[in-house]
Amino acid sequence: MFFLIKYLIRLWRRRQQPQQPAETEPEASSREPRTRARRVAPAGPSAAARGPLAVLAHELRYDLKTSLRNPRARFVTFLFPVLLLVIFNSAFGGGHTNIAGQQITLARFYVPGIMTLSIVMGSYGMLVQSITVLRETGVLKRRRATPVPPGILIAGQALTTVVTVGITVAILLAVAKVGYGIGFAPGAIAAIACTGVLATLACACVGFLVSSLIGSPEAAMPVVQATMLPLWFLSGVFIPMSNLSAGLRAVGDAFPVEHAANSLHLASVSSSFGGALDGTDLLVLAAWALGAAALAAWRFSWLPSTAKA
């Protein structure tokens, strides 16, 4: 898988290269007799000189590189969800449950369930860890000391999780289809993309918020586990919601994980885009995203919390 991604990145880079001489030439002809212009890298104007979108693409590229090279992240983000899907399907795949009035096999139930898990782990779980580590080791402070707008640094991290989660969801869809013959309608896949991006961003915002409440990198992992684990059981990830008592269902309902899972489950049984989305779920996810983002913006710190006076 990683070789595939690396290959794609290489392809993309190769496509970029022929454009570069064309970019540098007008720059060269308009060069003023300043010594500074001479120092511009041979690759052309810097990302910052090409505008905010170029800086965002630049940041995303390096954040992705960092993320894909982290062996623990690779395991947790890509391999672990696939492993879980295989284990759950071989152990309990034969059973049945009901989703939106339709009887389906548990094998079909686990695909959106594990997809939800991969979204939460890939965005919330990864960000709480990586942001806490980057902050406490001074990397965030050093990046913040440069002219790059802080919003771009945040967006780079958030979009990195969108890309990695997107890859994981695609792998899960492929494994479901090839391994278990569980297919999704094209409309449903489009709906999964919508729900997935919104849920990933919502979980990313909660991740930024939670990392701002954690004082040391050692505390990040336990906090992530303690907050995620109960929700797997209360949100229709491992166990269908219909198996839970009304009280437990209400608890699960308060958190974004259940709403991501619910919409993804709908997508597993419907053939149309509209039928695979639930307005309430999308609203709740958006509300969590906005609320967490606002609180995170207020609490977020670029400086290590151990900073001396």
Binding site: R39, A48, H58, Y62, R69, G138, V139, R142, P147
Partner: protein, 332 residues
């Protein structure tokens, strides 16, 4: 270690900086009446400082003296409680993004960018600036060209610090903040870092350096300020800090066998203090005259002064005295 690279860089840089240098004594940093309060504690209690273009300024002080707070205010990471702070013509707290194009920061504790190679780190940071320096040239400047393909996290401590300097230089800043750049270094890595820092002066950069090491300040700085308990307790050049130039020079020697302090020439004898180890200490403000008298006396008697030592109070002595005084004042 990097003189060759530096020479080339300096030559290129010359045309660009000579203009800037004509600006003369215009301050790059000016601080007036700076206070910073955290809740009930006042970390900085009224600081005035001025740092000029092209100088290396060393900011000394014990831990918790307000050093890091002051630097973080200058870097725009913290807001001053009161007082005026101007860095490159802007209040750092409200400075526009373009202001950061002109400063570079080497943080006291920062780790490498995880997962990236040395070159990728520099490329990442180069993308943040509108007119970055060339990556290869910067790698050579800090002598990391041979390591460009290594993961930054695999570098040795000294190499990591040089990478930090390179990251601070990649935007081609006018002003550099170096926060304890050599803390935790072995002596040879420290020497190498000093070469890099004094090289910055030749590039025409203004450097604001904080350090614990007196030797470092003495070696590198044009001017030094000492902060203790949130206040500047002394300011000056390494030679004049704390009235060091007026302090008596200490001449120590062992009197020849059979001679005692009272046998010394009269002008010296009254100032000579016998030490517990049998040597004699002479506090002197007229070193040449005293040494002349002493050697004349020794020659006359046909004696040798084997272990004579002439020493000025070290900067460390001055510093310890200054910070101790302030600590005691604060206690009482």
């Amino acid at each position: 270690m990097l003189t060759n690279n530096l020479d080339a860089a300096v030559a290129q840089r010359h045309a660009a900086t000579s203009q800037a240098h004509d600006g003369g004594a215009e301050p790059v940093i000016s601080i007036r009446g700076l206070h910073k309060r955290y809740g009930d504690t006042e970390a900085v209690r009224g600081i005035d400082l001025e740092i000029h273009r092209g100088e290396i300024f060393a900011f000394l002080g014990p831990n918790g003296a307000g050093k890091t707070t002051t630097v973080e205010i200058l870097e725009g990471f913290r807001r001053a409680t009161s007082g005026e702070v101007e860095v490159l013509g802007h209040n750092p707290w409200r400075a526009p993004g373009s202001w950061r194009e002109r400063i570079g920061i080497v943080l006291q504790e920062s780790e490498a960018e995880p997962g990236l190679t040395v070159r990728e780190c520099l490329e990442l940071y180069a993308g943040y600036y509108r007119e970055p320096r060339d990556v290869d040239e910067t790698l050579e400047l800090v002598d990391l060209a041979a390591q460009d393909d290594q993961r930054a996290s695999a570098l040795s401590g000294g190499q990591r610090r040089r990478l930090d300097v390179a990251l601070a230089l990649i935007g081609d800043p006018e002003l550099l903040f170096l926060d304890e750049p050599t803390t935790g270094f072995d002596p040879s890595a420290r020497r190498a870092a000093w070469d890099v820092i004094s090289g910055l002066r030749d590039l025409g950069k203004t450097v604001f350096l904080t350090t614990h090491y007196m030797e470092e300040a003495e070696r590198l700085a044009d001017r030094i300020a000492v902060i203790a308990a949130g206040q500047i307790v002394a300011q000056g050049t390494p030679q004049t800090l704390g009235g060091r130039q007026f302090e008596a020079t200490q001449i120590t020697f062992t009197p020849p066998v059979g001679a005692s302090a009272s046998d010394l020439p009269a002008a010296i004898a009254e100032r000579a203090q016998p030490q517990p180890d049998g040597r004699v200490l002479l506090a002197s403000t007229t070193v040449a005259a005293d040494l002349h008298l002493l050697s004349g006396w020794a020659l006359e008697w046909g004696l040798e002064l084997d272990d004579i030592e002439v020493a000025r109070p070290t900067l460390e002595d001055v510093y310890l005295q200054l910070t101790r005084e302030s600590h005691d004042q604060h206690r009482s």
